[in-house]
């Protein structure tokens, strides 16, 4: 498979994504500079974490106008798999590829630590290797991760099973204490109605090898590869 990792000015998790897909999962990886106008030939697209354009104005607000984003939009509309991690999730929201918006963490702190998330929908291309209700330990690292959607949007996310991950306790209880940033309904990740675009705040690429003490994140990235193999 050929996995595309988009590189914006200020991306800083792009090489981690490249490393996991290439060296851990054995796939080809193409780094796609944000000025590219085409993403043809790619089997999936990753929008990595970081601080694209220095988070100026709002997180993701300027990156969404990068030339490559037009191509990513078309790619997503045609059913291509797009995964946005952290800043990548913020960019997908600003681009309108996913509904809702990000607010500052309600503690105002930049939070960098492991959290637990519950897999609410194991039927997406990004969670196929997970069990429904499974708890994954994955680190977050963000200041703007408080997910917000208006009540109508929130209800439709729920009704269509678009809430894919929710912050929870280590034993899988979705509680206020387990919510690190104030996100609506403990939301940590959502997909679009078609299920081919996923945004998530936790960083699966940072915990994809047992030598690092945790490989829960590997399941998410490996799910993408497995889905692509089935497609062929």
């Amino acid at each position: 498979m050929n996995i595309g990792v988009v590189v914006f000015p200020g991306s800083n998790c792009d090489h981690d994504c490249q490393y996991v897909f290439r060296d851990v999962l054995g796939q080809d990886v193409t780094m796609v500079w944000h000025k590219e106008k085409s993403v043809s030939g790619l089997d999936a697209i990753i929008l990595p974490g970081g601080f694209s354009y220095g988070d100026y104005l709002r997180t993701g607000a300027i990156a969404r106008f990068s030339p490559v984003m037009e191509a990513v939009k078309e790619y997503a509309e045609e059913g291509g798999l797009v995964l946005g991690i952290c800043n990548g999730f913020q960019i997908l929201l600003e681009a309108g590829l996913l509904p809702g918006a990000m607010l500052r963490n309600d503690s105002l702190h930049f939070i960098c630590r492991d959290v637990h998330v519950k897999v609410e929908n194991a039927a997406t291309p990004f969670t196929g290797a997970c069990e429904s209700g499974q708890v994954l330990k994955i680190p977050i690292a963000h200041a703007d991760g408080h997910y917000y959607a208006d009540p109508v949007t929130a209800a439709s996310l729920k009704a269509n099973a678009q809430v894919v991950f929710r912050y929870c306790t280590p034993d899988g209880c979705v509680t206020m204490e387990a919510n690190p940033n104030g996100s609506l309904d403990n939301i940590a990740g959502i997909c679009n109605a078609a299920g081919n675009v996923l945004g998530m705040m936790p960083h699966p690429e940072r915990c994809a090898e047992s030598v690092l003490g945790n490989d829960d994140g590997r399941m998410i990235l490996a799910s993408v590869v497995e889905r692509l193999k089935k497609r062929r």
Binding site: L57, G100, R104, N105
Partner: protein, 79 residues
């Protein structure tokens, strides 16, 4: 023409920065201050003499980039 643009979080959306500032003001003894909301102020020069056209242009800038209308509202003046 100069555009002066204010972008703030919509009413009803939690503004933790505003809350933190409100507490700080209270600590300083400004007991009368309440409901602090933090926003952004932008100003820009516009090469346009027609006021109506300038309004349309600035509104479009706000809708497309300067504000995220899911969470923010904006207002501007032209001088």
């Amino acid at each position: 023409m100069k555009a002066k643009i204010h972008v703030t979080l919509k009413q009803g959306i939690l503004d933790p920065q505003g809350k933190a500032i409100e507490h700080a003001l209270e600590t300083l003894g400004f007991k009368n201050a309440a409901n602090v909301r933090v926003g952004k102020y932008l100003e820009l020069d516009l090469d346009e003499r027609d006021r109506a056209k300038a309004e349309v242009e600035v509104k479009s800038m706000c809708e497309k980039l300067l504000a995220n209308t899911i969470i923010e509202e904006y207002r501007f003046e032209l001088t």
